[in-house]
Protein backbone atom coordinates (compact mmCIF):
# COMPACT_ATOMS: atom_id res chain seq x y z
CA UNK A 1 0.00 0.00 0.00
CA UNK A 2 2.77 2.43 0.97
CA UNK A 3 4.61 1.61 -2.25
CA UNK A 4 1.48 2.29 -4.29
CA UNK A 5 1.06 5.65 -2.55
CA UNK A 6 4.64 6.64 -3.37
CA UNK A 7 4.36 5.49 -6.99
CA UNK A 8 1.05 7.30 -7.43
CA UNK A 9 2.51 10.54 -6.12
CA UNK A 10 5.68 10.20 -8.27
CA UNK A 11 4.00 9.13 -11.51
CA UNK A 12 0.69 10.99 -11.45
CA UNK A 13 1.17 14.17 -9.39
CA UNK A 14 -1.20 16.15 -11.66
CA UNK A 15 -3.90 13.48 -11.43
CA UNK A 16 -3.63 13.35 -7.64
CA UNK A 17 -3.70 17.15 -7.29
CA UNK A 18 -6.59 17.49 -9.75
CA UNK A 19 -8.53 14.75 -7.97
CA UNK A 20 -8.08 16.31 -4.54
CA UNK A 21 -9.07 19.76 -5.84
CA UNK A 22 -12.12 18.53 -7.77
CA UNK A 23 -13.33 16.38 -4.89
CA UNK A 24 -12.97 19.15 -2.30
CA UNK A 25 -14.77 21.83 -4.32
CA UNK A 26 -17.54 19.57 -5.65
CA UNK A 27 -18.19 18.07 -2.21
CA UNK A 28 -18.38 21.53 -0.63
CA UNK A 29 -20.85 22.85 -3.23
CA UNK A 30 -22.71 19.54 -3.08
CA UNK A 31 -23.78 20.18 0.53
CA UNK A 32 -26.22 22.80 -0.76
CA UNK A 33 -27.28 20.58 -3.67
CA UNK A 34 -28.53 18.07 -1.08
CA UNK A 35 -29.96 20.65 1.33
CA UNK A 36 -31.82 22.29 -1.55
CA UNK A 37 -33.22 18.82 -2.37
CA UNK A 38 -31.87 19.29 -5.90
CA UNK A 39 -29.73 16.18 -6.25
CA UNK A 40 -30.98 15.63 -9.79
CA UNK A 41 -29.43 18.94 -10.85
CA UNK A 42 -25.98 17.44 -10.27
CA UNK A 43 -26.34 14.59 -12.75
CA UNK A 44 -28.33 16.75 -15.20
CA UNK A 45 -25.65 19.45 -15.39
CA UNK A 46 -22.90 16.79 -15.59
CA UNK A 47 -24.65 15.26 -18.62
CA UNK A 48 -25.21 18.69 -20.17
CA UNK A 49 -21.49 19.41 -19.72
CA UNK A 50 -20.67 16.11 -21.44
CA UNK A 51 -23.01 17.05 -24.28
CA UNK A 52 -21.23 20.42 -24.55
CA UNK A 53 -17.89 18.64 -24.89
CA UNK A 54 -19.32 16.39 -27.61
CA UNK A 55 -20.71 19.42 -29.46
CA UNK A 56 -17.30 21.12 -29.22
CA UNK A 57 -15.72 18.27 -31.16
CA UNK A 58 -18.21 18.72 -33.95
CA UNK A 59 -17.85 22.52 -34.00
CA UNK A 60 -14.07 22.49 -33.58
CA UNK A 61 -14.07 24.70 -30.47
CA UNK A 62 -12.29 24.08 -27.12
CA UNK A 63 -14.22 21.44 -25.09
CA UNK A 64 -14.30 23.64 -21.98
CA UNK A 65 -15.91 26.51 -23.94
CA UNK A 66 -18.60 24.20 -25.30
CA UNK A 67 -19.46 22.62 -21.97
CA UNK A 68 -19.39 25.96 -20.15
CA UNK A 69 -21.73 27.60 -22.67
CA UNK A 70 -24.25 24.77 -22.56
CA UNK A 71 -24.17 24.41 -18.75
CA UNK A 72 -24.61 28.14 -18.17
CA UNK A 73 -27.53 28.19 -20.64
CA UNK A 74 -29.11 25.29 -18.74
CA UNK A 75 -28.59 27.00 -15.37
CA UNK A 76 -30.30 30.14 -16.73
CA UNK A 77 -33.22 28.04 -17.94
CA UNK A 78 -33.54 26.32 -14.56
CA UNK A 79 -33.43 29.69 -12.77
CA UNK A 80 -36.84 30.64 -14.19
CA UNK A 81 -39.42 30.75 -11.35
CA UNK A 82 -41.35 27.51 -11.59
CA UNK A 83 -43.93 28.13 -8.86
CA UNK A 84 -46.60 29.12 -11.39
CA UNK A 85 -45.62 26.75 -14.21
CA UNK A 86 -47.66 23.68 -15.09
CA UNK A 87 -44.69 21.35 -14.72
CA UNK A 88 -42.23 21.31 -11.80
CA UNK A 89 -38.54 22.13 -12.23
CA UNK A 90 -37.59 18.47 -11.69
CA UNK A 91 -39.48 17.49 -14.81
CA UNK A 92 -37.59 20.01 -16.93
CA UNK A 93 -34.34 18.66 -15.46
CA UNK A 94 -35.45 15.17 -16.47
CA UNK A 95 -36.11 16.33 -20.03
CA UNK A 96 -32.72 18.08 -20.15
CA UNK A 97 -30.99 14.97 -18.81
CA UNK A 98 -32.56 12.72 -21.45
CA UNK A 99 -31.85 15.19 -24.26
CA UNK A 100 -28.23 15.73 -23.17
CA UNK A 101 -27.50 12.00 -22.72
CA UNK A 102 -28.93 11.05 -26.10
CA UNK A 103 -27.47 14.04 -27.94
CA UNK A 104 -23.97 13.31 -26.58
CA UNK A 105 -24.03 9.87 -28.21
CA UNK A 106 -25.47 11.24 -31.48
CA UNK A 107 -22.86 14.01 -31.63
CA UNK A 108 -20.03 11.57 -30.91
CA UNK A 109 -21.18 9.31 -33.72
CA UNK A 110 -20.92 12.24 -36.16
CA UNK A 111 -17.69 13.82 -34.86
CA UNK A 112 -14.34 13.67 -36.67
CA UNK A 113 -11.92 12.24 -34.07
CA UNK A 114 -11.86 8.54 -33.26
CA UNK A 115 -14.56 7.17 -30.97
CA UNK A 116 -12.03 6.10 -28.31
CA UNK A 117 -10.49 9.54 -28.17
CA UNK A 118 -13.85 11.27 -27.93
CA UNK A 119 -15.06 8.81 -25.28
CA UNK A 120 -11.95 9.51 -23.19
CA UNK A 121 -12.71 13.24 -23.23
CA UNK A 122 -16.46 12.74 -22.80
CA UNK A 123 -16.40 10.42 -19.84
CA UNK A 124 -13.05 11.52 -18.41
CA UNK A 125 -10.40 9.54 -16.59
CA UNK A 126 -8.91 11.31 -13.63
CA UNK A 127 -5.62 9.41 -13.82
CA UNK A 128 -4.93 10.89 -17.28
CA UNK A 129 -5.14 14.52 -16.07
CA UNK A 130 -2.42 16.68 -17.56
CA UNK A 131 -0.61 19.69 -16.13
CA UNK A 132 -2.55 21.95 -18.52
CA UNK A 133 -5.85 20.55 -17.24
CA UNK A 134 -4.71 21.03 -13.66
CA UNK A 135 -3.96 24.69 -14.36
CA UNK A 136 -7.33 25.24 -16.02
CA UNK A 137 -9.01 23.59 -13.01
CA UNK A 138 -7.08 25.85 -10.65
CA UNK A 139 -8.05 28.93 -12.69
CA UNK A 140 -11.78 28.11 -12.48
CA UNK A 141 -12.23 26.22 -9.24
CA UNK A 142 -10.19 28.38 -6.88
CA UNK A 143 -12.13 31.61 -7.68
CA UNK A 144 -15.41 29.68 -7.43
CA UNK A 145 -14.34 28.30 -4.05
CA UNK A 146 -13.33 31.74 -2.79
CA UNK A 147 -16.60 33.32 -3.93
CA UNK A 148 -18.53 30.56 -2.21
CA UNK A 149 -16.66 31.05 1.06
CA UNK A 150 -16.84 34.86 0.93
CA UNK A 151 -20.60 34.87 0.36
CA UNK A 152 -21.41 31.77 2.38
CA UNK A 153 -23.63 33.57 4.89
CA UNK A 154 -26.09 35.25 2.45
CA UNK A 155 -26.13 32.08 0.32
CA UNK A 156 -26.90 29.96 3.39
CA UNK A 157 -29.62 32.33 4.64
CA UNK A 158 -31.19 32.50 1.15
CA UNK A 159 -31.38 28.71 1.10
CA UNK A 160 -32.54 28.26 4.71
CA UNK A 161 -35.50 30.65 4.49
CA UNK A 162 -35.83 32.69 1.32
CA UNK A 163 -38.70 34.92 2.54
CA UNK A 164 -37.15 35.77 5.88
CA UNK A 165 -33.86 36.48 4.10
CA UNK A 166 -35.65 38.88 1.73
CA UNK A 167 -37.27 40.69 4.66
CA UNK A 168 -33.79 41.00 6.21
CA UNK A 169 -32.64 42.83 3.08
CA UNK A 170 -30.80 39.92 1.44
CA UNK A 171 -31.12 39.91 -2.37
CA UNK A 172 -31.85 36.21 -2.45
CA UNK A 173 -32.05 35.92 -6.27
CA UNK A 174 -28.48 37.26 -6.55
CA UNK A 175 -27.05 34.72 -4.10
CA UNK A 176 -29.06 31.79 -5.42
CA UNK A 177 -28.05 32.67 -9.00
CA UNK A 178 -24.42 33.09 -7.95
CA UNK A 179 -24.44 29.68 -6.30
CA UNK A 180 -25.93 27.92 -9.33
CA UNK A 181 -23.57 29.85 -11.62
CA UNK A 182 -20.61 28.62 -9.57
CA UNK A 183 -22.06 25.12 -9.61
CA UNK A 184 -22.40 25.30 -13.40
CA UNK A 185 -18.81 26.50 -13.86
CA UNK A 186 -17.46 23.84 -11.51
CA UNK A 187 -19.42 21.02 -13.13
CA UNK A 188 -18.45 22.03 -16.68
CA UNK A 189 -14.79 22.39 -15.71
CA UNK A 190 -14.62 19.10 -13.86
CA UNK A 191 -16.86 16.84 -15.95
CA UNK A 192 -14.44 16.43 -18.85
CA UNK A 193 -11.56 15.63 -16.49
CA UNK A 194 -13.32 13.55 -13.87
CA UNK A 195 -16.33 12.34 -15.88
CA UNK A 196 -20.05 12.81 -15.16
CA UNK A 197 -20.35 9.85 -12.77
CA UNK A 198 -17.46 10.87 -10.53
CA UNK A 199 -18.55 14.51 -10.42
CA UNK A 200 -22.07 13.39 -9.46
CA UNK A 201 -20.54 11.16 -6.79
CA UNK A 202 -18.60 14.09 -5.32
CA UNK A 203 -21.71 16.29 -5.40
CA UNK A 204 -23.93 13.77 -3.62
CA UNK A 205 -22.14 10.95 -1.79
CA UNK A 206 -19.46 13.00 0.01
CA UNK A 207 -21.86 15.70 1.30
CA UNK A 208 -24.29 12.94 2.34
CA UNK A 209 -21.47 11.37 4.37
CA UNK A 210 -20.89 14.70 6.10
CA UNK A 211 -24.61 15.23 6.76
CA UNK A 212 -24.84 11.76 8.32
CA UNK A 213 -21.91 12.52 10.63
CA UNK A 214 -22.78 16.00 11.86
CA UNK A 215 -25.80 18.18 12.60
CA UNK A 216 -23.83 21.42 12.52
CA UNK A 217 -23.47 23.22 9.20
CA UNK A 218 -19.87 24.33 9.83
CA UNK A 219 -18.79 20.74 10.49
CA UNK A 220 -20.74 19.47 7.49
CA UNK A 221 -18.94 22.02 5.30
CA UNK A 222 -15.61 20.82 6.69
CA UNK A 223 -16.26 17.06 6.64
CA UNK A 224 -17.68 16.94 3.08
CA UNK A 225 -14.45 18.03 1.29
CA UNK A 226 -12.34 15.88 3.64
CA UNK A 227 -14.51 12.85 2.80
CA UNK A 228 -14.13 13.67 -0.90
CA UNK A 229 -10.36 13.99 -0.67
CA UNK A 230 -10.03 10.79 1.39
CA UNK A 231 -12.13 8.84 -1.11
CA UNK A 232 -10.09 10.27 -3.99
CA UNK A 233 -6.75 9.46 -2.41
CA UNK A 234 -7.58 5.93 -1.33
CA UNK A 235 -9.56 5.25 -4.50
CA UNK A 236 -6.57 6.25 -6.64
CA UNK A 237 -4.18 4.18 -4.52
CA UNK A 238 -6.42 1.08 -4.72
CA UNK A 239 -6.98 1.51 -8.46
CA UNK A 240 -3.21 1.92 -8.97
CA UNK A 241 -2.34 -1.11 -6.88
CA UNK A 242 -4.98 -3.43 -8.35
CA UNK A 243 -5.06 -1.99 -11.89
CA UNK A 244 -8.72 -0.93 -11.64
CA UNK A 245 -10.53 1.96 -13.43
CA UNK A 246 -9.77 5.05 -11.31
CA UNK A 247 -13.11 6.91 -11.47
CA UNK A 248 -15.24 3.92 -10.61
CA UNK A 249 -12.91 2.86 -7.78
CA UNK A 250 -13.17 6.34 -6.23
CA UNK A 251 -16.98 6.13 -6.53
CA UNK A 252 -17.02 2.78 -4.70
CA UNK A 253 -14.66 4.05 -1.98
CA UNK A 254 -16.93 7.12 -1.54
CA UNK A 255 -19.97 4.87 -1.13
CA UNK A 256 -18.07 2.69 1.34
CA UNK A 257 -17.15 5.79 3.36
CA UNK A 258 -20.83 6.74 3.36
CA UNK A 259 -21.71 3.24 4.57
CA UNK A 260 -19.15 3.44 7.38
CA UNK A 261 -20.40 6.91 8.35
CA UNK A 262 -24.01 5.68 8.40
CA UNK A 263 -23.04 2.70 10.57
CA UNK A 264 -21.04 4.88 12.99
CA UNK A 265 -23.91 7.38 13.20
CA UNK A 266 -26.45 4.60 13.84
CA UNK A 267 -24.30 3.00 16.57
CA UNK A 268 -23.68 6.41 18.17
CA UNK A 269 -27.39 7.21 18.23
CA UNK A 270 -28.18 3.81 19.76
CA UNK A 271 -25.48 4.20 22.41
CA UNK A 272 -26.21 7.79 23.43
CA UNK A 273 -29.29 7.02 25.60
CA UNK A 274 -27.27 4.46 27.59
CA UNK A 275 -24.37 6.88 28.09
CA UNK A 276 -26.54 9.77 29.28
CA UNK A 277 -26.70 10.10 33.07
CA UNK A 278 -30.06 9.38 34.72
Amino acid sequence: MHEAMTCLYCQFPEALSAGLLVSAVCALLGVFVILKRAVFIGITLSEVATCGVAASFLLGIPPLAGSLALVLASVSLLAIPFEKQRIPRDTLMGIMFIAASALSILLVSKSGPGLMEVNAVLYGDLILSSQKELYSLLALLVPALLLFLIFLRPILYSFIDREAARVLGIKTWIWESLYFLMLGVVISATSQIAGALLVFCYLVVCPATALILSKRIKWVLLIAPIAGMLATFFGMVISFEHDLPTNQTICIVSCMLFGIAAAVSWIYQKLIPTIQPH
Binding site: E163, V167, L168, L211, S214, I217
Partner: protein
Protein backbone atom coordinates in the same frame (compact mmCIF):
# COMPACT_ATOMS: atom_id res chain seq x y z
CA UNK B 1 -48.79 57.50 18.56
CA UNK B 2 -47.40 59.87 15.95
CA UNK B 3 -47.67 59.89 12.09
CA UNK B 4 -48.11 57.01 9.68
CA UNK B 5 -45.31 54.47 9.49
CA UNK B 6 -46.83 52.48 6.59
CA UNK B 7 -49.03 53.87 3.85
CA UNK B 8 -50.88 51.92 1.16
CA UNK B 9 -52.25 53.93 -1.77
CA UNK B 10 -54.71 52.24 -4.14
CA UNK B 11 -52.92 48.93 -3.75
CA UNK B 12 -54.06 46.08 -5.99
CA UNK B 13 -52.66 42.57 -5.64
CA UNK B 14 -53.51 39.73 -8.00
CA UNK B 15 -52.51 36.11 -8.52
CA UNK B 16 -52.82 35.54 -12.24
CA UNK B 17 -56.26 36.89 -13.18
CA UNK B 18 -57.66 36.69 -9.65
CA UNK B 19 -57.46 39.99 -7.83
CA UNK B 20 -57.23 39.45 -4.06
CA UNK B 21 -56.79 43.08 -3.00
CA UNK B 22 -58.52 45.92 -4.83
CA UNK B 23 -57.57 49.58 -4.34
CA UNK B 24 -56.58 49.23 -0.69
CA UNK B 25 -55.87 52.53 1.06
CA UNK B 26 -54.41 52.35 4.54
CA UNK B 27 -52.50 54.65 6.82
CA UNK B 28 -50.99 52.62 9.64
CA UNK B 29 -49.99 54.85 12.57
CA UNK B 30 -46.59 54.43 14.18
CA UNK B 31 -46.67 52.57 17.49
CA UNK B 32 -50.03 50.85 16.93
CA UNK B 33 -50.93 47.27 17.92
CA UNK B 34 -53.06 46.35 14.91
CA UNK B 35 -54.67 42.96 14.44
CA UNK B 36 -55.60 42.02 10.84
CA UNK B 37 -58.86 40.14 10.83
CA UNK B 38 -61.11 38.66 8.20
CA UNK B 39 -62.35 35.31 6.93
CA UNK B 40 -60.06 32.75 5.31
CA UNK B 41 -58.97 33.85 1.85
CA UNK B 42 -59.91 37.48 2.50
CA UNK B 43 -56.39 38.67 1.68
CA UNK B 44 -54.84 39.24 5.15
CA UNK B 45 -51.69 37.31 4.32
CA UNK B 46 -51.44 38.90 0.87
CA UNK B 47 -51.72 42.38 2.38
CA UNK B 48 -49.02 41.70 4.98
CA UNK B 49 -46.75 40.11 2.34
CA UNK B 50 -47.31 43.07 0.01
CA UNK B 51 -46.37 45.46 2.83
CA UNK B 52 -43.17 43.45 3.37
CA UNK B 53 -42.39 43.54 -0.36
CA UNK B 54 -42.58 39.76 -0.66
CA UNK B 55 -45.18 39.81 -3.44
CA UNK B 56 -45.44 42.32 -6.27
CA UNK B 57 -48.33 44.75 -6.30
CA UNK B 58 -50.19 45.17 -9.58
CA UNK B 59 -51.15 48.79 -8.99
CA UNK B 60 -50.70 51.47 -6.36
CA UNK B 61 -47.88 52.28 -3.95
CA UNK B 62 -46.75 51.14 -0.51
CA UNK B 63 -44.49 53.37 1.57
CA UNK B 64 -42.57 51.64 4.37
CA UNK B 65 -39.42 52.38 6.41
CA UNK B 66 -38.00 48.92 5.58
CA UNK B 67 -35.19 50.21 3.35
CA UNK B 68 -33.54 51.69 6.44
CA UNK B 69 -34.83 49.41 9.20
CA UNK B 70 -35.88 45.89 8.40
CA UNK B 71 -39.09 44.52 9.90
CA UNK B 72 -39.35 41.54 12.22
CA UNK B 73 -41.42 38.94 10.38
CA UNK B 74 -43.03 35.66 11.36
CA UNK B 75 -44.55 33.80 8.39
CA UNK B 76 -47.78 31.80 8.51
CA UNK B 77 -46.05 28.50 7.75
CA UNK B 78 -42.83 27.12 9.19
CA UNK B 79 -40.72 27.56 6.07
CA UNK B 80 -37.38 26.21 7.29
CA UNK B 81 -36.56 22.83 5.79
CA UNK B 82 -35.72 20.51 8.73
CA UNK B 83 -32.97 19.01 6.56
CA UNK B 84 -30.77 22.06 7.24
CA UNK B 85 -28.24 21.27 9.98
CA UNK B 86 -28.61 24.59 11.78
CA UNK B 87 -29.17 25.14 15.49
CA UNK B 88 -31.93 27.16 17.10
CA UNK B 89 -29.28 29.71 18.07
CA UNK B 90 -28.14 30.05 14.44
CA UNK B 91 -31.71 30.53 13.20
CA UNK B 92 -32.39 33.25 15.75
CA UNK B 93 -28.98 34.80 14.95
CA UNK B 94 -30.12 35.08 11.33
CA UNK B 95 -32.40 37.91 12.49
CA UNK B 96 -29.28 39.96 13.25
CA UNK B 97 -27.98 39.72 9.66
CA UNK B 98 -28.32 43.46 8.87
CA UNK B 99 -26.27 44.30 11.97
CA UNK B 100 -23.55 41.68 11.52
CA UNK B 101 -20.15 42.18 9.98
CA UNK B 102 -19.15 39.88 7.15
CA UNK B 103 -16.93 36.93 8.18
CA UNK B 104 -17.36 37.77 11.87
CA UNK B 105 -19.18 35.45 14.26
CA UNK B 106 -21.82 36.92 16.56
CA UNK B 107 -20.36 39.48 18.97
CA UNK B 108 -20.86 38.99 22.70
CA UNK B 109 -23.70 41.57 22.68
CA UNK B 110 -25.35 39.82 19.76
CA UNK B 111 -25.03 36.44 21.45
CA UNK B 112 -26.63 37.97 24.55
CA UNK B 113 -29.48 39.33 22.38
CA UNK B 114 -30.07 35.84 20.93
CA UNK B 115 -30.06 34.29 24.41
CA UNK B 116 -32.41 36.97 25.69
CA UNK B 117 -34.86 36.49 22.78
CA UNK B 118 -34.87 32.74 23.40
CA UNK B 119 -35.22 33.16 27.18
CA UNK B 120 -38.19 35.50 26.66
CA UNK B 121 -39.98 32.62 24.92
CA UNK B 122 -38.79 29.92 27.34
CA UNK B 123 -36.57 28.42 24.67
CA UNK B 124 -33.13 29.04 26.22
CA UNK B 125 -32.59 25.38 27.05
CA UNK B 126 -33.21 24.38 23.42
CA UNK B 127 -30.62 26.78 21.92
CA UNK B 128 -28.28 24.02 20.75
CA UNK B 129 -30.96 21.79 19.25
CA UNK B 130 -31.53 21.65 15.51
CA UNK B 131 -34.81 22.83 14.01
CA UNK B 132 -35.87 19.27 13.16
CA UNK B 133 -35.60 18.23 16.83
CA UNK B 134 -38.32 20.71 17.91
CA UNK B 135 -42.09 20.33 18.17
CA UNK B 136 -44.40 22.47 16.01
CA UNK B 137 -45.01 24.99 18.79
CA UNK B 138 -41.30 25.26 19.60
CA UNK B 139 -40.50 25.90 15.92
CA UNK B 140 -42.98 28.74 15.92
CA UNK B 141 -41.38 30.22 19.04
CA UNK B 142 -37.97 30.09 17.33
CA UNK B 143 -39.32 32.05 14.37
CA UNK B 144 -40.88 34.59 16.76
CA UNK B 145 -37.53 34.92 18.57
CA UNK B 146 -35.80 35.49 15.21
CA UNK B 147 -38.28 38.26 14.40
CA UNK B 148 -37.74 39.99 17.75
CA UNK B 149 -33.99 39.57 18.23
CA UNK B 150 -32.95 42.68 16.30
CA UNK B 151 -35.51 44.82 18.19
CA UNK B 152 -37.17 46.06 15.00
CA UNK B 153 -39.46 49.09 15.01
CA UNK B 154 -42.13 47.19 13.05
CA UNK B 155 -43.12 43.60 13.84
CA UNK B 156 -45.30 41.76 11.31
CA UNK B 157 -46.68 38.35 12.26
CA UNK B 158 -48.97 36.12 10.25
CA UNK B 159 -50.90 33.82 12.60
CA UNK B 160 -47.85 33.53 14.90
CA UNK B 161 -49.62 31.59 17.62
CA UNK B 162 -51.57 29.09 15.52
CA UNK B 163 -49.57 26.12 16.82
CA UNK B 164 -49.04 27.29 20.38
CA UNK B 165 -50.97 26.07 23.41
CA UNK B 166 -53.19 28.57 25.23
CA UNK B 167 -50.61 29.49 27.86
CA UNK B 168 -47.80 30.00 25.31
CA UNK B 169 -50.14 32.04 23.12
CA UNK B 170 -50.99 34.35 26.03
CA UNK B 171 -47.29 34.72 26.88
CA UNK B 172 -46.33 35.58 23.29
CA UNK B 173 -49.18 38.07 22.90
CA UNK B 174 -48.27 39.52 26.31
CA UNK B 175 -44.67 40.09 25.13
CA UNK B 176 -45.88 41.74 21.95
CA UNK B 177 -48.22 44.04 23.89
CA UNK B 178 -45.38 44.93 26.24
CA UNK B 179 -43.09 45.77 23.30
CA UNK B 180 -45.89 47.89 21.85
CA UNK B 181 -46.83 49.74 25.03
CA UNK B 182 -43.42 50.14 26.67
CA UNK B 183 -41.16 50.56 23.64
CA UNK B 184 -43.62 51.96 21.08
CA UNK B 185 -43.09 49.14 18.58
CA UNK B 186 -45.60 48.90 15.74
CA UNK B 187 -47.15 45.41 15.75
CA UNK B 188 -49.20 44.11 12.81
CA UNK B 189 -50.62 40.69 13.49
CA UNK B 190 -52.95 38.49 11.45
CA UNK B 191 -54.97 36.48 13.94
CA UNK B 192 -57.98 34.23 13.66
CA UNK B 193 -59.34 34.85 17.19
CA UNK B 194 -61.40 38.01 16.85
CA UNK B 195 -62.63 37.98 20.47
CA UNK B 196 -59.10 37.72 21.85
CA UNK B 197 -57.91 40.58 19.66
CA UNK B 198 -60.85 42.73 20.81
CA UNK B 199 -59.63 42.37 24.38
CA UNK B 200 -56.09 43.46 23.49
CA UNK B 201 -56.51 46.58 21.42
CA UNK B 202 -58.74 49.49 20.48
CA UNK B 203 -58.69 49.16 16.70
CA UNK B 204 -58.21 46.51 14.05
CA UNK B 205 -57.74 46.20 10.32
CA UNK B 206 -60.69 44.44 8.72
CA UNK B 207 -59.90 42.73 5.45
CA UNK B 208 -62.96 41.65 3.44
CA UNK B 209 -63.72 41.12 -0.23
CA UNK B 210 -60.39 42.56 -1.34
CA UNK B 211 -60.79 45.75 0.72
CA UNK B 212 -59.10 46.73 3.98
CA UNK B 213 -59.87 49.40 6.52
CA UNK B 214 -58.83 50.27 10.07
CA UNK B 215 -61.83 50.39 12.37
CA UNK B 216 -62.08 51.29 16.08
CA UNK B 217 -63.42 48.77 18.60
CA UNK B 218 -65.99 49.74 21.21
CA UNK B 219 -65.18 48.93 24.84
CA UNK B 220 -67.95 46.38 24.79
CA UNK B 221 -66.20 44.58 21.97
CA UNK B 222 -68.31 45.99 19.13
CA UNK B 223 -66.58 47.11 15.98
CA UNK B 224 -67.39 50.50 14.51
CA UNK B 225 -67.79 50.02 10.78
Amino acid sequence: MSGSIITCEDVCVAYGRTEVLHKVNLEIPEGIFLPFTGPNGSGKTSLLRAILGLIPIRKGQIHTPFQQNTAGYVPQHKVIDPLFPVSVQQIVGMGLYPKRRRFRPLSSEQRAAVESALAMLDMAEHADKTFRELSGGMKQKVLIARALVSEPDVIIMDEPTSELDEQSEQEVLGHLLKLNRQQGKTVLIAHHDLELMRMLTSSMCQVRHGKASIVPIKNGGEVHA
